[in-house]
């Protein structure tokens, strides 16, 4: 391989989106991928097929990636483009997504590196056969409601309850609120654990993701207490959805389901 320091233009790298067993090229038709004008295509690597695209090397250097991943719009564009290709490929069968920004100097290098890991890919592909990933997020109201009927029959604010006084009533109220908040948090934790335990029983594998803070969701009226994701056999998905409906009714919590996802969260575990 000869260096071509004088001619960076026109040099291309090979971006790898995913690896699968069989791929119908038709599913990739029209996908933009990460570089306009370069087709997204299959690349045979022994028994496997990689989903790849040529990209201009000069636009995919480490510095360029740093900038791209630090810019919200650019990052979103990349993530969606990557996801679109991965998802399209998965229509043909089990698919292992590669980490964002997996790049090689060319098709030959990609083929070598992927071929060297063929055994690992085979294990993962076997594991993902007939499976998809389903995300489940659980929310509770952001704040505990003030105790409407305190257990200790607290004096009514402003009422002339004997032996009280404004200061004492105030403290009582503060304590009541504090207690309510603690109970709210305890209940929320239990709810999260209940939901996760119930769904874990149905899943082939499970992962807890970091819950999204209110700053990330932009929501102040509710708190995310569980952000989990489950690797589900296809025939168990309806069971998951039914269980979620039951949990909604039993716990009163908001439970959101998303899926099917290509099993991103379970592809790197082998």
């Amino acid at each position: 391989m000869t260096e071509q320091p004088g001619a960076p233009e026109g040099a291309t790298s090979t971006y790898v989106f995913a690896v699968c067993r069989r791929l119908d090229p038709a599913v990739l038709t029209g996908l933009a991928g990460l570089a306009e004008g370069c087709p997204v295509r299959g690349l045979r690597c022994g028994p496997l097929t990689a989903v790849v695209q040529h990209v201009p090397a000069a636009e995919f250097t480490e510095d360029a990636w740093q900038r791209r991943l630090s810019d919200r719009a650019a990052l979103e564009h990349c993530a969606r483009a990557h996801h679109e290709v991965v998802t399209a490929a998965a229509a043909c069968g089990p698919t292992v997504p590669l980490a964002l920004a997996t790049l090689y100097r060319g098709d030959e290098r990609a083929r070598e590196a992927l071929g060297a890991d063929a055994d690992r890919f085979t294990v993962v592909l076997d594991r993902l056969e007939n499976h998809a990933e389903w995300g489940v997020k659980v929310y509770v109201p952001a704040t505990a409601r003030p105790p409407s009927a305190p257990a200790s029959a607290a004096p009514h604010p402003g009422g002339g309850s004997a032996g009280g006084g404004a200061g004492r009533a105030y403290l009582e109220r503060k304590r009541g609120l504090h207690r309510a908040r603690e109970q709210h948090h305890d209940r929320a934790l239990r709810t999260a654990e209940d939901v996760d335990a119930a769904l874990t029983r149905l899943a082939t594998a499970t992962r807890r993701l970091r819950p999204h803070s209110p700053e990330m969701t932009g929501e102040t009226h509710r708190l995310q207490i569980l952000n989990a994701t489950y690797l589900m056999r296809t025939e168990r998905v309806q069971g998951l959805l039914d269980a979620v409906e039951g949990l909604r009714q039993r716990t009163g919590a908001e439970v959101e389901v998303s899926g099917p996802w290509v099993p991103y969260s379970f592809a790197g575990e082998v």
Binding site: W65, R72, H83, A91, P214, Q238, W261
Partner: protein, 76 residues
């Protein structure tokens, strides 16, 4: 409270890329996961630390405190 709210993808559908997958859910998966293989050459950009770093830059207010999203939910 227990009324049915709109839920994304409640109905199992084909694995075609749903438009409007929430970005934050997408980043949970696309950024932090996938098989990391001995990146060639160009860069080991798939290194998780780098990606995490960028995610933090992106969502500068992301909390490090994993288990307690409500801990600073303010006064009641």
């Amino acid at each position: 409270m227990s009324t049915v709210q709109p839920v994304p993808w409640e109905t199992p559908g084909p694995l075609t890329g749903p438009i409007g997958v929430p970005l934050v859910d997408l980043l949970d998966r696309v950024l932090a996961t996938g098989v990391v293989i001995s990146g060639d050459l160009v860069i080991a950009i798939a290194d998780v630390p780098l990606v995490r770093l960028s995610l933090h830059a992106l969502l500068s207010s992301v909390s490090e405190r994993v288990p307690a999203p409500w801990s600073d939910s303010g006064p009641l």
